[in-house]
């Protein structure tokens, strides 16, 4: 018998009390589905507030001002990483750009900032979700550099976690980001920044 056979046999033996005709659906689970109510301007406001509560910087702007808004947010970045498929219109003049085409990890570590878009934002928790599709970079790109500037459009917001989950594609990898990297491991004092970006700046468009 393989380990697989043994473990599965143990599981079946342990579950002898479960009637053979019972199906998973017979175990009733009561839960409310995701809400379909449209978001209001108040939601956008709340999202900005909640992101800021994690000590991330949030800047709001109208679409026409986006590039101008980005300039001061990238002031302290000397080398900026951009996903190779970041839309042209999103690349501000200013810091030196490097396009990420599978940059070796060592070189990634020498870059100090990264600019990406996101898949969606969750109002209730102030969370940004990346599914690492176009404009969002591979997972390491938003992890190794110390400053992450992330552009999100107001129509990408969803109300809560259930609404986020139904909108995401499970075949993609996801990174959920709620503020900069943090730890409270030393005497429970919250400190921003251990391994992920120590600075998170969010531009909320529209």
């Amino acid at each position: 018998m393989t380990a697989r056979d043994v473990v599965l046999a143990r599981v079946r033996r342990a579950l002898r009390d479960v009637p053979p005709e019972e199906t998973p659906a017979d175990v009733e689970v009561v839960r409310s589905g995701p809400s379909t109510a449209p978001l209001t301007p108040g939601h956008v406001e709340l999202f900005a507030e909640r992101v800021a509560q994690y000590r991330a910087r949030v800047v709001r702007c109208v679409p026409d001002d986006l590039v101008a808004t980005l300039v001061p947010l990238l002031e302290d970045v000397s080398t900026l990483l951009v996903p190779f498929d970041l839309p042209r219109g999103l690349r501000p003049a200013g810091p030196r750009h490097i396009e990420d085409r599978q940059l070796p990890t060592g070189e990634l570590d020498a870059v100090d900032g990264v600019l990406t878009t996101a898949r969606l934002g969750i109002v209730e928790t102030g969370t940004i979700v990346l599914d690492h599709g176009p404009g969002q970079g591979r997972r390491a790109a938003t992890l190794v550099p110390d400053i992450h500037v992330c552009v999100l459009w107001a129509d990408q917001l969803v109300a809560g976690v259930p609404e986020a989950i139904v909108n995401l594609d499970p075949t993609r990898p996801h990174t959920w980001i709620s503020g900069p990297s943090a730890t409270s491991d030393i005497e429970l004092e919250r400190v921003e920044g251990v391994h992920g970006p120590r600075t998170l700046r969010v531009v909320l468009v529209g």
Binding site: T2, A3, R4, V6, V7, L8, R10, V11, R12, A14, L15, D17, V18, T23, P24, V27, V29, V30, R31, P34, Y54, Q102, T105, D109, I122, E124, T125, G126, R138, R139, A140, L143, V144, V161, P162, A164, I165, V166, P170, T171, P173, H174, T175, W176, S178, P180, S181, A182, T183, S184, D185, I186, E187, L188, V191, G193, V194, H195, G196, P197
Partner: protein, 492 residues
């Protein structure tokens, strides 16, 4: 370390030592009360909290009652996503699988993201024995590892260390295993965190193999989830070429949509945040992004024994949030080390004896008694595990396992007590005797409990075992009965 810390004294003995450590008690009280308050605030924000608890409990029950089906489904989904699935009956088998994979890739080091499961199976020791260094990358785990210490809390394993101690450990130990701490390091948490960042960065960039656990495993999609704060998890899950995730078979969820319940309840119950800084979700291999060789080890190691216990099965719902630790009056005072296991607190008190079996080990058999059955753990548990119910159930099992052996002094005392209390005349006589005894005893053998209460010292045999774990208050010189018959009538 194995599932219980080797050579660990039983709970009552270890608790006695912990209680005397006032630094530990202060740190613990501060930690547990701070997290408790934060949790209460963010839980209050959620109107449907109780529904989420019920949904979480029933989703886990659905999974557990049909676990064989979901395990096979998970295996199929993971394999389709490019992962290699391994099965491990016990700790040794899981450790061997990890060692073999590391050897296959010719590496002498792995980076690790904090995982209770790998602590449970003693993976670090197994790797060291095979000549492979296992680098813990969670800040608290790093502190524990560098300090050659044991974790004391699921969530904040180094809560028993203060900043000055951490600074000392970093200055002394970092240079032995890699990049040294800066010589001018102060004990400011920000600086200590920065030292850890620099120390570990070279390891993240260099390591070819990473080991993780998983908070959830979705059967339908093969998705694994790692919920964390620092970004060390993301480093491990993303930078190395090879990723090995060790997943206890109780971590499964049926569908992707089910994640929403737990991604709401876990962060709020655990760190008291609306959401933790980072959550990673992935399924197998993503071409061009992250590890291109992904292994998943499905681990039993006693879990099927818990599953077979129809009362105790609910313990497998546990999502390791640590809310029950933070609310527990026993844990708050004795700390995690007293439980002698990587699973401390109320959940540890039921999980450890069930995973390892009762009636063989005094250390494990003592755990179901490490509770006042106040029920606070059930109230905070996001998956509604009725811990007091399981504790009582296990006490019965412990007693049953010892039945037929020579009666212990405790058995004899209980028998005598039930004979005495069955008659009011006998009760009255015995309280008068106790008062008399108190007057005699107050002249000798007294000591002070924490807080200055006068208590009896160790009682002579055969009561020594009982008084060893309890402070015996000095009996009152006069019983209530005799006070009432003397003064009560006048008061009327």
């Amino acid at each position: 370390m194995s599932a219980t810390f080797v050579g660990m004294p039983t709970f009552p003995v270890a608790a006695g030592t912990a209680l005397a450590d006032s630094q530990l008690r202060r740190n613990l009280a501060h930690a547990t009360s701070t997290i408790r308050t934060k949790r209460a605030e963010v839980v209050r924000e959620v109107d449907a909290w109780e529904q989420l608890r019920v949904a979480g409990a029933t989703l886990k029950d659905r999974t557990l009652r049909h676990l064989d089906v979901y395990l096979e489904q998970l295996e199929t989904a993971l394999t389709a996503a490019g992962a290699t699935v391994h099965w491990a009956r016990d700790a040794d088998e899981a450790n061997r699988i990890v060692v073999d994979i590391a050897r296959l890739h010719g590496t002498d080091e792995v980076v690790k993201v904090k995982s209770m499961t790998t602590a449970e199976i003693g993976l670090n020791d197994a790797l060291e024995a095979a000549g492979i260094h296992a680098w813990e990358t969670d800040l608290a785990e790093l502190i524990v590892q560098l300090g050659d210490d044991l974790p004391s809390h699921i969530l904040v394993p180094a809560i028993h260390r203060n900043r000055a101690e951490i600074r000392e450990i970093f200055l002394r130990e970092m240079e032995r295993v890699g990049r040294p701490a800066p010589a001018d390091l102060t004990d400011a948490p920000l600086e200590l965190a920065a030292a850890a960042r620099d120390h570990l960065r070279e390891k993240f960039l260099r390591a070819r193999v990473a080991v993780s656990g998983a908070n959830f495993a979705v059967a339908e999609t093969g998705t694994l989830a790692v919920v964390e704060s620092e970004g060390n998890g993301r480093m491990c899950l993303t930078l190395p070429e090879v990723l090995i995730s060790i997943v206890g078979i109780e971590k499964l969820l049926p569908t992707w949509a089910d994640l929403d319940v737990f991604l709401q309840t876990l962060p709020r119950s655990s760190t008291g945040e609306r959401m933790n800084p980072y959550t990673s979700l992935w399924s197998g291999v993503t071409p061009g992004d992250g590890p291109q060789q992904v292994h998943v080890v499905l681990l039993d190691n006693g879990r099927t024994d818990v599953l077979a216990d129809t009362v105790g099965r609910q313990a497998l719902r546990c999502i390791r949030c640590s809310a029950c630790l933070n609310i527990c009056p026993v844990y708050e005072r004795t700390g995690g080390h007293s439980y002698g296991s990587v699973y401390p607190g109320p959940i540890g008190a039921i999980l450890n004896p069930m995973m390892r079996g009762v009636g063989q080990d005094a250390q494990l058999d003592a755990l179901p008694y490490a509770s006042s059955l106040c029920g606070a753990c059930f109230d905070v548990c996001p998956v509604r595990i009725d811990i007091p119910e399981v504790l009582v159930h296990l006490r019965t099992k412990v007693v049953d396992a010892h039945r037929g052996r020579r009666p212990t002094p405790q058995d004899l005392v209980m028998r005598a007590a039930s004979w005495t209390l069955a008659s009011s005349a006998r009760t009255a006589r015995s309280t008068r005797l106790a008062g008399l005894a108190a007057r005699v005893l107050s002249r000798r053998g007294l000591r002070s409990a924490p807080g200055g209460r006068r208590v009896l010292g160790a009682l002579p045999r055969p009561a020594a075992g009982w008084s060893g774990a309890r402070d015996v208050p000095l009996p009152p010189a006069e019983s209530f009965r005799s006070w009432w018959s003397r003064a009560g009538r006048d008061a009327r």
